[in-house]
């Protein structure tokens, strides 16, 4: 009996407890293991390979001038091109910075290549024309854009951010060469250089620019495509454009024009420290230096006075030309002008054979001058009042000067021909102004107006009409005779 009561008592004690417990907690909870990231195993990703320095002890010195555009609100600092500058200087070349439009037009006459980095201000039609002409002559153009360097301005009134990507500025320049840069950036989530927007390129187009490359890393690059040329740097299948979120095998990080003289890159950061030493970026930079100095630009009359390849210019008046005071005065003016463009003028008493030459003669050619004129196939008839010039037809002898230009391996030659010695001085004065603006230039022959044919022909051989420097008048020396001309008369 007592045992039964004990059970009843125990049950009475437990039932309310169990009832309440199971009322609230009907089941048994078992917690799974909670996995969290292994933070201690996470490390800062570093570049997989580095070319700290690209030793090139056997690099040949080719020389040359690379112009660097710095007046189109270019989004870079001069120190950022240090690695390229070193590579160019190692090859005997030099970088010259352009700070205004006039220096662009002037310096393109002698430069080997033009370097444009992330510009924000538009190119004028004159500038585009000058660059196009430069490339047609064999000059080279390298354009660097950068997806991280577009100009951003905040509208004062609305607070809106106005974005001016550099591609808007360079695409008109590149359009003639079948290259277009997209307003996007390339990214790769799967394999990248420390960040999704830092992409590797491991497939390359065949060109000297890609010689020796196995892997290149770009840091925020636009994609570039080319209709007529070729894409040089091609990304992996997981390299996507930010605009399409898809891979386009026709787009890459750089492209070259069909003629091989124009190259465009979607990134500039890869050339700056410390990224210039990542992967094969250093090799690419040296290849770019080779490209910039590798132009086969042909000197032309249009590039005067930057047409001389030697430090000395030998000026040879034909044997019939007398060194009159007027001519000496013209030579002095020419010498001063040439000094300004780093050319040393030397008077030659015999016809020079080597080096750069300036030959002066009247249309009455002497034997010593004939070899310089023959290659141009002029028909000089003493009886005629005209000279037959290939490409021009009959050119009046009086009042016109003819400039002939020949480029050679041993030096370049300019020949000045006029009817009289007085006109020769006038022509010499004109070119000493550095401007052939009143001359018609066609290939390697130029015709310059230096006076009126009627008045000049009347005075041929007897007197001297006015000589007016090219830059100062419209070519009517009779109307404004100079003291030099008066004196000789």
């Amino acid at each position: 009996m007592k045992r039964n009561l004990l059970w009843i008592g125990l049950a009475a004690l437990l039932i309310p407890v169990l009832l309440r417990f199971f009322w609230f907690y009907p089941g048994i909870i078992s917690r799974p293991e909670i996995a969290t990231p292994e933070y201690q195993s996470l490390t800062i990703p570093r570049p997989t390979m580095q070319t700290q320095t690209v030793a090139q002890p056997d690099v040949s010195s080719v020389g040359g001038v690379v112009l660097v555009d710095y007046f189109h609100a270019n989004q870079f600092q001069p120190t950022e091109v240090q690695s390229l500058r070193e590579a160019v200087e190692q090859r005997g070349g030099q970088l010259e910075t352009l700070i205004d439009s006039s220096s662009l037009l002037a310096k393109l006459k002698y430069a080997d290549s033009l370097l444009i980095i992330s510009p924000s201000a538009a190119y004028t039609s004159d500038e585009i024309r000058a660059v196009t002409s430069f490339i047609e002559r064999g000059g080279r153009l390298a354009v660097f854009t950068d997806a991280t360097r577009g100009l951003m301005q905040v509208d004062f009134f609305s607070g809106a951010i106005l974005n001016t990507p550099d591609i808007n500025v360079v695409n008109p320049l590149l359009a003639n060469y079948g290259i277009s840069i997209n307003n996007d950036y390339l990214y790769n989530i799967v394999e990248n250089e420390g960040n999704f927007r830092n992409v590797f390129f491991e497939n390359f187009g065949k060109a000297e620019l890609t010689f020796g490359l196995k892997q290149v890393a770009f840091y925020g690059t636009h994609s570039i495509e080319s209709e007529s040329g070729q894409v040089l740097l091609l990304g992996a299948d997981q390299t996507f454009s930010s605009v399409t979120d898809a891979h386009n095998p026709a787009e890459g990080g750089a492209a070259m024009s069909q003629n091989g003289n124009v190259v465009a890159f979607g990134d500039f950061t890869f050339m700056t420290s410390p990224y210039s030493t990542v992967a094969d970026n250093g090799i690419l930079i040296t290849n770019i230096a080779d490209f910039l100095l590798g132009s086969e630009i042909k000197p032309s009359l249009a590039a005067f006075p930057y047409v001389f390849s030697q430090p000395d210019l030998h000026v040879y008046p034909g044997s019939e030309i007398q060194l009159t005071p007027e001519l000496v005065g013209a030579f002095a003016k020419l010498q001063t002008f040439l000094h300004a463009v780093d050319v040393n003028m030397l008077i030659a008493t015999k016809e020079p054979t080597d080096g750069d030459k300036l030959i002066l003669s009247t249309f009455s050619l002497t034997e010593d001058v004939v070899p310089f004129v023959e290659p141009f196939h002029l028909k000089l008839d003493e009886e005629s009042k005209f000279v037959e010039v290939p490409g021009y037809g009959n050119v009046a002898r009086g009042g016109n000067g003819i400039i002939l230009f020949e480029s050679g391996k041993k030096g370049n030659t300019i020949v000045l021909l006029t009817e009289t010695e007085t006109e020769l001085i006038t022509l010499l004065d004109a070119i000493s102004g550095g401007n052939l603006g009143s001359c018609v230039l066609q290939g390697e022959i130029g015709i310059c107006s230096i006076g009126s044919s009627s008045s000049t022909s009347e005075e041929t051989g007897e007197t001297s009409t006015g000589s007016t420097p090219e830059g100062e008048s419209t070519g009517t020396p009779e109307a404004t005779p100079t003291p030099v001309a008066t004196a000789s008369g």
Binding site: I8, L14, P16, F21, F24, R31, T43, I44, I189
Partner: protein, 281 residues
């Protein structure tokens, strides 16, 4: 023994062996607490103040046995890395004992989703914004010297080199990625490449991709939490009140001169933060 004394003896026996134990049992049973499903709300960015408050509530839930599960109601664009990680780690500790169910209200973006991923079940509204897995940061200045500031090294002033900062951001991203993949496990139905694009999805898409478990409300979240905790007839309790937190706050977001709160943090740094698109033209 007369009849009356016999009856009394019986009554006394029943009182002793039935009523008294029963009353004692009832008394003891009354000490069995009614289960509480705690609620923690996050309706701001994750920064030092909000993180501190959340951690206090999480610790309260951990320490108090009657709190059998926690519902995390989130409407946050994320915040600082370190504060997000701090809350994340406290949540992980809590989850070893008690289930946590997240309900996404407005958005659980970036750091907000980082925390959400560390829960047993995730609800969202059909148009809640979910995801934005990734890290965002402002690179420090290029080292420079100032006349009036003397320091002992090139990075004393700015903390680290720009390149190191850039790479550090990617390292933090890996931690975030691991947190999501570990938290979601087999339920995640998207490629890592897509996840790491940093996209933000509406709730319906997030459900399709396995970023969340179901569409639902806070009521659903409480029910689910109770189910996971194996409790019934529970009561809900706001852990902010239960843990006796006092109101404290500071400004995380930048304020315009006109007093408008902008979506950008008020100081540079690295963030697990969703920042709406810039008004570019």
């Amino acid at each position: 023994m007369n009849l009356s004394s016999l009856k009394w003896e019986q009554i006394r026996t029943w009182l002793l062996w039935l009523v008294f134990p029963l009353l004692t049992g009832v008394l003891i049973a009354s000490f069995i607490p009614r289960p509480v499903i705690g609620l923690i709300r996050l309706e701001d960015a994750i920064y030092n103040f909000t993180a501190r408050d959340m951690i206090k509530q999480i610790v309260y839930a951990y320490d108090h046995p009657e709190v059998r599960a926690v519902v995390l109601a989130i409407n946050s664009p994320g915040g600082t890395v370190v504060d997000t990680e701090a809350v994340y780690m406290e949540l992980a500790r809590l989850r070893t004992k008690k289930p946590v169910v997240t309900v996404i209200n407005g958005m659980a973006a970036s750091g907000g989703y980082y925390l959400s991923a560390n829960s047993d079940y995730i609800y969202a509204k059909p148009t809640s914004l979910v995801g934005n897995v990734g890290v965002i940061g402002y690179l420090p200045q290029t080292p420079l010297i100032l006349e009036e500031v003397i320091s002992t090294g090139p990075y004393k002033l700015w903390g680290s080199a720009r390149d190191v900062e850039m790479r550090q951001i990617d390292m933090i991203k890996l931690g975030f990625f691991q947190a999501v993949t570990l938290g979601r496990g087999d339920r995640l139905k998207m490629e890592s490449e897509l996840l790491l694009t940093g996209q933000i999805w509406p709730g319906t898409e997030a459900l399709r991709y396995g970023l969340i478990d179901d569409l639902g409300t806070e009521t659903d979240a409480f029910a689910k939490a109770a189910e996971l905790a194996r409790v019934e007839h529970y009561k809900t309790g706001d852990l902010y009140n239960l843990s006796a937190l006092e109101s404290s706050s500071s400004t995380f977001f930048l304020q315009s001169p006109e007093g408008i709160t902008l979506p950008y943090p008020n100081k540079p740094g690295i963030y697990l933060l969703y920042i709406p698109e810039l008004p570019t033209q």
